[in-house]
């Protein structure tokens, strides 16, 4: 498509439509949203001339200027708090938390204000804010650079929490998140930033609140999101060799949860498992397991399994491979079921 090619003035290097990285797709989504809607502003730490530490805002500062995208002081609560005030005045801020664990200083603004404002004002105040958070491990990040904090956000009523697993979704879901009148926590799996797909931009994928069956199967429903979708697809490949047919669903939206798509699949396969990098206890998988069990109990042939990180702080780079769920670990887990 032409939208990107027409912007000859920018030096943003977005690969030719044939090969787009997730980071490039996110950049394109930000650019197109900013071009379409002058109320969209972007700010955060190093998002200006540097283009962000992951280069997701690359070139936007030059293209749109400092009234649309700028480096804020280094303070996450301040970033989210001022975004709230801006949204109250009619802007649509998209802010970046530099890394997952560095969103914690903004916890109070997110949970006490961002998530609650529409409710407390009986719908009179909307806060169309997107908080982009690079999250999860697999990139050899040192301490505090690999957290999966999704359960903090999904536990908070008022937030919409989504996470793409591929470049096309990254583009489409970010555009949808920016257009949404509800605040959205947009979790970007860092390990997938440089993954490429041959796609044409702009691209519109199904609504961000819907889960997608990425691969059909008959024996097991394997639920994954963000960084673990790739793991799930690998597991499905390996399983084929063993004669096991795995259906892989990319949840895409963690809150709301797509009961319909998941329920339909589980009724077909009668077995389900969920993979995530975050630790297990009180994690997102616990909610999914409980929820699907409550709704599909009579269709289930076995308990729902969780293949997750251990209940430990995220390990150092040399040890993260032992923590992160792998396709082999998924298959070993499925083997524990009585078939």
């Amino acid at each position: 498509m032409t939208i990107l090619e027409n912007r000859a003035t920018t030096k943003v290097v977005v690969p030719a439509p044939a090969q787009v990285t997730m980071a490039g797709a996110l950049t394109a989504a930000l650019r197109d949203s900013m071009a379409d809607d002058p109320r969209v502003v972007v700010f955060g730490e190093d998002v200006g001339p540097l283009g962000g530490v992951f280069r997701v805002t690359d070139g936007l500062s030059k293209e749109f200027g400092e009234s649309r995208i700028w480096d804020s002081p280094l303070a996450e609560s301040g970033i989210v708090g001022t975004a709230i005030g801006m949204a109250m005045y009619g802007l649509r801020p998209v802010v970046e938390m530099q890394f997952d664990a560095f969103s914690y200083p903004a916890f109070e603004q997110i949970t006490s204000h961002l998530a609650k404002m529409h409710n407390r004002s009986r719908g009179l105040v909307t806060l169309p804010i997107v908080i982009r958070i690079p999250y999860a491990g697999g990139i050899g990040g040192v301490e505090h650079h690999s957290d999966s904090s999704e359960a903090y956000w999904t536990h908070t009523p008022g937030l919409t929490v989504v996470t793409p697993s591929n470049p096309a979704d990254a583009y489409s879901m970010l555009r949808e998140a920016i257009a949404s009148d509800d605040p959205v926590i947009f979790l970007e799996p860092k390990s997938r930033y440089w993954s490429k797909d041959a796609i044409e931009l702009p691209v519109t994928t199904p609504p961000m609140t819907k889960g997608l069956v990425l691969r059909e199967g008959t024996d097991v429903t394997l639920l994954a999101y963000g960084p673990t979708v790739k793991t799930a697809l690998q597991a499905a490949d390996l399983a084929t060799a063993e004669g096991l047919s795995i259906e892989v669903i990319d949840l895409r939206s963690l809150s709301p949860f797509d009961d319909e798509t998941v329920g339909e699949s589980v009724r077909k396969t009668s077995r389900a498992a969920i993979i995530h990098e975050a630790s297990q206890f009180g994690g997102y998988g616990a909610e999914v397991a409980a929820r699907v069990t409550e709704r599909q109990f009579f269709h289930l042939a076995a308990p729902i399994l969780r293949i997750t990180g251990f209940d430990i702080p995220f390990p150092s780079p040399k040890l993260e491979e032992y923590h992160l769920p792998t396709a082999e670990r998924v298959l070993a887990a499925l083997d524990t079921w009585e078939w």
Binding site: A75, I84, L124
Partner: protein, 386 residues
């Protein structure tokens, strides 16, 4: 639409004019004062160059302060009677609260805390709308956009950042809107207060920070919050002007706040103002101040009452005549009556509304929970009928 090419940053460090940049004025060691506690006009250095507001302004401030006091006393009484869940009184802080509201234009925004109900009232919100929060009908009873008043914030200092954001958005759009945020002395210790001061100064946001130093954060005295000489002194480190003001002197509060508001409007950036005052009542109705302060301290501050001194000044100047005083008293009583009436009505709460505003976009799971509660309510009603 955004003003194009708008320089958001006040990049003095790298600009040629860095050396020429004006140093912010250092706050005075003693509070700025225009009318002293005896009701006498202050002349000389304690003015810090601020002129006394006109008699019209002072009379308007007095009238609004009397009305606010009557309202506050009434609401405290209703709270003791169990009509409200809680009420944090601002009795004794009227000079700060009312001067702030009176200094603003219609397009300006205020960001109040739980303490600042009389400011919300004085900006035109009705008693029923103002008190919905403390009666417990809902978390907010008025339309923020209509009055340009943010919901009263309880998480301390968080609202200061919202004020900075809103003011910055207004600046980006090229509007002449100013935001004023209230803060307590204790709240200045919160990280969000620091972040708000810093963001406002860096972005040169049209914001006024009004720290009401009522000397306590529930039970904790100011000495345990800061080692700074005054809260106003903190402004200097952020590169903005700070003013230390007698917070029980409405003339001084109005003069300083309104000049700061207008400077912000003209592009002069933020200001930090400390009003030195006293929380005469308990923190809320469930607090017991006898555990942490003594009667003689309370008596000393009652003598410094902000209404008394303005009344003395205006009476001596022949501005506050018995006829006007009686009009004001009638207005205050009428509001007290209206407040009692509003609070004696049973609030119209609808349990099913609990699900209606959590999201803009419809959520199937919430609709299910709404339907569950609806069935439960219907069953309870059927049960009580049979």
């Amino acid at each position: 639409m955004l003003a194009s090419g708008f320089p958001l940053l006040h990049d003095y460090r790298m600009s040629a004019s860095a050396a020429a940049r004006e140093e912010p004025v250092r706050p005075t060691a003693l509070p700025i004062s225009l009318i002293d506690s005896k009701g006498t006009a202050v002349t000389g250095k304690r003015n810090a160059g601020f002129a006394r507001p006109s008699d019209d302004v002072l009379l308007d401030l007095y009238r609004r302060m009397v009305v606010a006091r009557r309202f506050d006393v009434q609401v405290s009484a209703l709270t003791r009677q169990g009509r409200l869940a809680t009420y944090p009184s601002a009795l004794g802080q009227e000079a700060c609260e009312i001067s702030a509201v009176a200094s603003l234009q219609v397009q300006d925004w205020i960001f109040p805390t739980y303490r600042d109900t009389i400011a919300v009232l004085s900006r035109g919100v009705s008693p029923a709308e103002t008190l919905a929060l403390f009666r417990g009908d809902w978390h907010l009873g008025f339309d923020p956009g209509r009055y340009r008043i943010a919901p009263q914030a309880t998480p301390l200092a968080t609202q200061a950042l919202h004020a900075v954001g809103l003011a910055t958005a207004a600046k980006l759009k090229g509007d002449d809107t100013v935001a004023l945020t209230f803060l307590g002395d204790g709240s200045t210790s919160e990280g969000d207060a620091h972040e708000a001061f810093n963001f406002a100064a860096v972005w040169q946001a049209p914001v006024v920070f009004l720290v009401q130093n009522n000397q306590y954060a529930i039970s904790v005295p100011v000495a345990k919050q800061t080692h700074a000489r005054t809260f106003a002194d903190k402004a200097i480190g952020y590169g903005m002007p700070g003013y230390f003001v007698d917070g029980n002197d409405a003339a001084a509060m109005f003069a300083v706040i309104s000049s700061s508001v207008e400077r912000a409007r003209a592009g002069g950036g933020p200001t930090l103002i400390e009003g030195l005052t006293y929380r005469v009542e308990a923190h809320t109705n469930s607090d017991d101040p006898t555990r942490y302060r003594n009667k003689s301290e309370e008596a000393k501050w009652r003598a410094l009452d902000p209404l008394l001194r303005l009344e003395k000044y205006l009476t001596a100047a022949g501005i506050l005549t018995p006829a006007i005083a009686s009009d004001i008293s009638d207005e205050a009583e009428a509001l007290a009556t209206a407040t009692r009436e509003a609070m004696s009505e049973t609030p119209a709460v609808d349990p099913l509304e609990l699900f209606d505003h959590v999201y803009v976009n419809e959520r199937p799971a919430l609709l299910e929970q709404r339907a569950f509660l609806e069935r439960e309510l219907a069953a309870t009603e059927a049960g009580s009928r049979s």
